[in-house]
């Protein structure tokens, strides 16, 4: 079963994402911000990282950049959850090594479809 690291500082988004992904048969580990995620990533191997962009302590883009530097995460797909208005964030994220993005607001079906698409 594919394991997904879901990173979001918003408890409701985490709740929704986790519920949705578990419902779709994925295993989910949560983290509340970039720093937390980095900690989790050092001890847990995941198949995909799904991260919010705007977070305290460490934002999603920094997280992606730092994760990409870890050998175990070099080829792991990493998706950003971003808002429509943040085109520059997409580019920044891409530059940092993001695989792609999911535009907020999204619904659970879109989320699952995107993840399935990436994980094949």
């Amino acid at each position: 079963m594919a394991k997904i690291l879901a990173v979001d500082d918003s408890a409701s988004m985490r709740q929704m994402v986790t519920f949705t992904l578990k419902n779709a048969g994925f295993e989910v580990v949560e983290a509340v911000d970039g720093q937390d995620a980095l900690k989790v990533a050092q001890t847990t191997k995941v198949n995909l990282v799904l991260t919010d962009v705007n977070m305290p302590n460490m934002d999603g883009i920094t997280l992606i950049r730092q994760l990409r530097a870890l050998p175990a995460y070099k080829f792991i797909p990493m998706l950003m959850l971003t808002t429509e208005s943040a085109d520059n964030k997409k580019n920044e994220g891409k530059a940092a090594g993001a695989t792609g993005w999911l535009v907020k607001p999204f619904n659970p079906d879109q989320l699952v479809a995107t993840i399935k698409k990436v994980l094949g």
């Binding site: 500082d9 918003s10 408890a11 409701s12 988004m13 709740q15 929704m16 519920f19 949705t20 419902n23 779709a24 919010d52 705007n54 977070m55 305290p56 990409r68 070099k74 080829f75 792991i76 797909p77 990493m78 959850l81 808002t83 429509e84 208005s85 943040a86 085109d87 520059n88 580019n91 891409k94 090594g97 993001a98 695989t99 792609g100 993005w101 907020k104 607001p105 999204f106 619904n107 659970p108 079906d109 699952v112 698409k117 990436v118 094949g120």
Partner: protein, 695 residues
């Protein structure tokens, strides 16, 4: 798959209200002229989260509204917009409005549409102001592709990934798989760029592909598949049936721009923006402070508990081992184990109690806004200083102390701190200071509300008290006594009843509420220097510091906070009034004596006052001496309700279970004093002077 989004709403509302509080306090700090980027970032993130959540969970109106706030804040944090007082004020009002909008969404009540569009108008006007220079060029970035030809039967795609494409987690195979879903796909790989084996880097992509896709497919749907990689490859998409599409391709970079500003066309007429800002202040609050029976507990506390339970398990297994084949030689070990168990149990109890403890910042955090609004309204300059915000107290106590605190802070702003001119005239800085301070002291939390204002005007208080008949003519109370007068019902010092303090709630109610929590309030005031209100509260309502006393064959508990002193009765100080009511002369006061066995109607052990013990207590401003047989231990007791299975009992606030498993009643002093006044309950059936009158 369909997922009921409603299940996440509660969490969304909770975090949004928290986010709003965060925005509010952040904005208030910005107010001080501090354009700290971290701070703006925090405010931005809160708005951003609310926007994201409301969009996801289907609160469209909230999402729309927050979007403008977010955009403004985004410009501020990118230094594209100045942080002005006006902007901060409008954002603060927006926070209020948003709070109400969210409350309406949560409660399913109707939103105040007029207000929402008014404030949204203000935000829009702010957004359109010219100072917001260098706004990114508006306009949709994605150039409209010619998707007018969905029947383009054959697409030719040239896909040349840059070497680093794989290192971003993208896999060309995924894209092929998706294209395959759109139509009939033919893939031809070009291996001409493959590196020599010696220099081959398996992490890089050397291949490129020529793809042919047949089917009724639009350009957009193809581009969507390559959306994530368009910067990481060379991409050429052509419709073979329409060779002229060359202009629609070859885009390795997209035009920059933030986009959708042009979609927002809601600009209400300017006259709608001027509104009474005080309304906004009054309307706020309610939803955010709405009772919530859940409690957030920090991970630290839970970890602490888990550790302690772990220890408990170890001790338990040790004791079990010891008990298995116990030998009297091991008695010492058993004792050690038991005392360890006792220590552990006590720690565990304390820590479980701490779960209910929250930092007082939960109560304090409303004050920056309140002081800001009030002082603006009154034309005063006030700096609010807060310290000890991390001091913890029980959630229940917290909920009940908020109103008294609000009243006292209002009072300091309204009556305490003077107008700037008046302050200047007496050589003080124009900006007054209101200081909220909290700290723990001996099982209590102490909260101080101090100002550096004019102090209580003793003559005026005295005059007013005389006018209102609260004290007898010619009677001059002590300095302290004068200050205490403001706690009497029906007392209000405000010459003009302002809409700030004069809300029909007097200081008497404040005192009463604090006493109901088992607390005390006192005043220290120095004319011209300022006033301090000092509140002492028990940390929790679940535990009480008690004095165990015996009367007859019963043990009762008197709350320590009610006790002024305990003394041995000197016969000469006992007086009989009208031959019946017993009073005790304590220095310059006469206090009524309550024979506990009489009031509680139990068989007495000792009925002779001479040489007996008197516990002097105070409740509801009245003093009394309780005649008891013996003073026992002082200890913390866990309060149990009598009402759960029974009824409220006059004179008793609850019960506790003593070490031997028996039940002991906890006295309610105010109620006991009232009870002692009622005929029929006491043999000394006469009116008793109240302490305050006897003074």
């Amino acid at each position: 798959m369909s997922i009921d989004m409603a299940q996440f709403h509660q969490t969304f509302f909770e975090e949004s209200f928290e986010g709003l509080d965060l925005m509010e306090s952040g904005l208030l700090d910005l107010d001080a002229g501090d354009a700290d980027i971290d701070l703006i970032n925090t405010i931005f993130r809160a708005a951003h989260s609310i926007k994201g959540g409301s969009g996801t969970f289907g609160f469209k109106r909230v999402c729309e509204f927050t979007h403008i706030m977010e955009t403004l804040l985004d410009e501020m944090r990118d230094k594209r917009r100045k942080v002005t007082q006006e902007a901060v004020n409008i954002l603060l009002q927006s926070v209020d409005c948003l709070r109400d909008m969210l409350a309406s969404e949560r409660n399913g009540s109707r939103m105040d549409e007029d207000r929402v569009s008014q404030i949204q108008g203000m935000l829009n006007d702010l957004f359109n102001k010219k100072e917001a220079s260098q706004l990114p060029a508006a306009g949709n970035t994605a150039p409209k592709e010619d998707n007018h030809d969905p029947d383009a039967q054959v697409w030719h795609i040239r896909f040349i990934p840059f070497p680093n494409l794989l290192a971003k987690g993208n896999d060309p195979v995924r894209m092929f798989r998706e294209l395959d879903l759109l139509g009939e796909l033919e893939v031809v790989a070009n291996i001409s760029n493959l590196a020599e084996f010696s220099s081959f880097n398996p992490e890089e992509c050397y291949l490129s592909w020529n793809l042919t896709l047949k089917g009724a497919v639009t350009m957009e749907s193809i581009k969507e598949i390559f959306e994530w990689v368009e910067d990481d490859c060379e991409l050429d998409i052509r419709s073979l049936s329409q060779e002229k599409t060359a202009d629609a391709v070859e885009h390795q970079s997209r035009p920059e721009g933030a986009g959708n500003g042009s979609e927002k066309e809601k600009n209400p007429s300017p006259e709608s923006i001027n509104r009474d800002s005080s309304k906004a202040i009054d309307k706020r609050g309610a939803p955010a402070t709405a009772e919530n029976s859940s409690i957030r507990v920090s991970i630290d506390k839970i970890d602490g508990l888990i550790n302690m339970v772990g220890e408990l398990v170890i001790i338990q297994s040790m004791l079990a081992q010891l008990g298995k084949d116990f030998d009297i030689d091991q008695l010492g070990k058993l004792r050690d184990g038991l005392s360890q168990l006792e220590r552990n149990t006590r720690e565990l109890q304390e820590n479980v109690m701490r779960i209910r403890m929250l930092p007082i910042s939960f109560a304090f955090n409303r004050f920056p806004r309140m002081v800001h609004d009030l002082s603006q309204k009154m034309g005063k300059q006030i700096e609010l200083k807060m310290s000890g915000e991390n001091t913890e107290l029980d959630k229940t106590v917290m909920e009940k102390i908020v109103d008294p605190l609000v009243h006292l802070v209002r009072n300091s702003v309204d009556h305490g701190v003077e107008m700037p001119e008046a302050r200047r005239a007496c050589g003080k800085p124009e900006t007054g200071l209101v200081h909220l301070n909290a700290y723990h002291k001996g099982g209590n939390i102490v909260i101080e509300i101090s100002d550096d204002g004019a102090g209580l005007n003793k003559e005026r208080i005295l005059r007013k008290a005389q006018e209102k008949g609260l004290i007898k003519d010619g009677e001059i109370p002590s300095e302290e006594g004068i200050n205490e007068l403001i706690f009497l019902p029906g007392f209000s010092t405000a010459e003009v009843v302002s809409d700030v303090s004069g809300r029909g709630v007097g200081m008497d109610v404040v005192k009463k509420n604090i006493q109901a929590l088992g607390g005390k309030i006192e005043i220290i005031s120095r004319e011209g220097k300022g006033t301090s209100f000092i509140i002492r509260l028990p940390l929790t309502l679940a535990i009480l510091d008690g004095q165990l006393v015996s009367a007859g064959d019963q043990i009762y508990i008197i709350p320590l906070v009610s006790i002024i002193e305990s003394l041995q009765i000197i016969e000469g100080n006992v007086n009989l009034i009208a031959g019946k009511a017993e009073v005790y002369k304590l220095r310059d006061e006469y206090i009524p004596i309550i024979r506990l066995y009489d009031v509680f109607n139990i068989p007495p052990k000792n009925t002779d006052l001479k040489g007996g013990l008197l516990v002097v207590v105070e409740g509801d401003g009245k003093k009394a001496g309780i005649f008891i047989d013996d003073l026992l231990d002082q200890q913390q007791v866990v309060i149990k309700s009598l009402e759960t299975n029974f009824k409220r009992v006059e004179g008793v606030s609850g019960a506790t279970i003593l070490g031997d498993g028996t039940v002991a009643l906890i006295m309610d002093i105010s109620s006991l004093i009232r009870l002692s006044h009622q005929p029929g309950y006491t043999n000394h059936n006469v009116t008793i002077l109240s302490a305050s009158k006897a003074a």
